[in-house]
């Protein structure tokens, strides 16, 4: 299982299609930095099919005022949880 890291906003970048194309059925996706814009309800179309495997970094949501605006299917983890996700993964793939 690979962990994918994504730091771009789905409203300004088209990278999300490439990320989904490279993700296996068990792979996980963690949204960080401007990537957490992908946790908004309106971003769901760009990140479909990731039920239970879509994470967003709490610290980056908080600093942007987005913590209370996350879609229901997004699992919020803090940076300690970020490390835990990397521990459990075979490797991490960064997208930017």
């Amino acid at each position: 299982m690979n962990l994918h890291l994504l730091n771009r906003s789905p409203f300004s970048s088209r990278i999300h299609d490439d990320v989904l194309n490279a993700m296996g059925p068990e792979d996980q996706l963690l949204l960080i930095e401007d990537g957490v814009n992908g946790a908004l309800d309106n971003a769901e179309q760009h990140l479909a099919g990731l039920e239970g495997r879509l994470f967003a970094l709490r610290e980056d949501l908080e600093s942007r005022g987005l913590l209370g605006r996350c879609a229901e299917n997004v699992i919020v983890v803090d940076v300690d949880g970020f490390v835990a996700l990397t521990e459990a993964a075979d490797k991490t793939v960064s997208w930017f």
């Binding site: 940076v79 300690d80 970020f82 521990e87 490797k91 991490t92 930017f96």
Partner: protein, 129 residues
């Protein structure tokens, strides 16, 4: 576990340095080891010894220095990416006929082979760009 980080983002331009430093603290707090941080692309500017941010902003180079001091993390800067961008240690400065230098220990100029080693010889490599 043994971790390495790759940093490609420039300090004060992209969040990459901040994210990498925060992740470093967290992995160390969980009892892991951080062997290496490799700086490439605009990430090489993290080593700039002239960096003078305002007092009320984090001093990114100083944060890297304390990682090296407290956790024996190696701070490696790609020499090819560094030279063209003006990041030279004393030896490279002399070799290019320049006075002074912009990079100093514990940062070290190294070849790209060190990125390959950091990638393959640790349990995890995480890239921040």
């Amino acid at each position: 576990m043994r971790y390495a980080l790759a940093v490609y983002g420039g300090p004060y331009s992209q969040q990459a340095s901040h994210s990498a430093l925060r992740f470093a603290d967290a992995l160390l707090a969980r009892g892991h080891q951080l062997t290496t941080v490799f700086f490439y692309h605009d990430g090489v500017y993290n080593a700039a010894n002239m960096m003078a941010p305002p007092q009320d902003e984090p001093h990114l180079r100083d944060r890297w220095l304390s990682l090296a001091e407290n956790h024996a993390t190696r701070l490696q800067v790609c020499v090819a990416a560094g030279l063209r961008r003006g990041m030279l240690d004393e030896r490279e400065a002399a070799r290019h006929g320049k006075q002074g230098h912009t990079l100093e220990a514990p940062f070290e100029l190294t070849g790209l082979g060190q990125l390959v080693e950091a990638t393959l010889d640790n349990d995890h490599l995480i890239t921040f760009a």
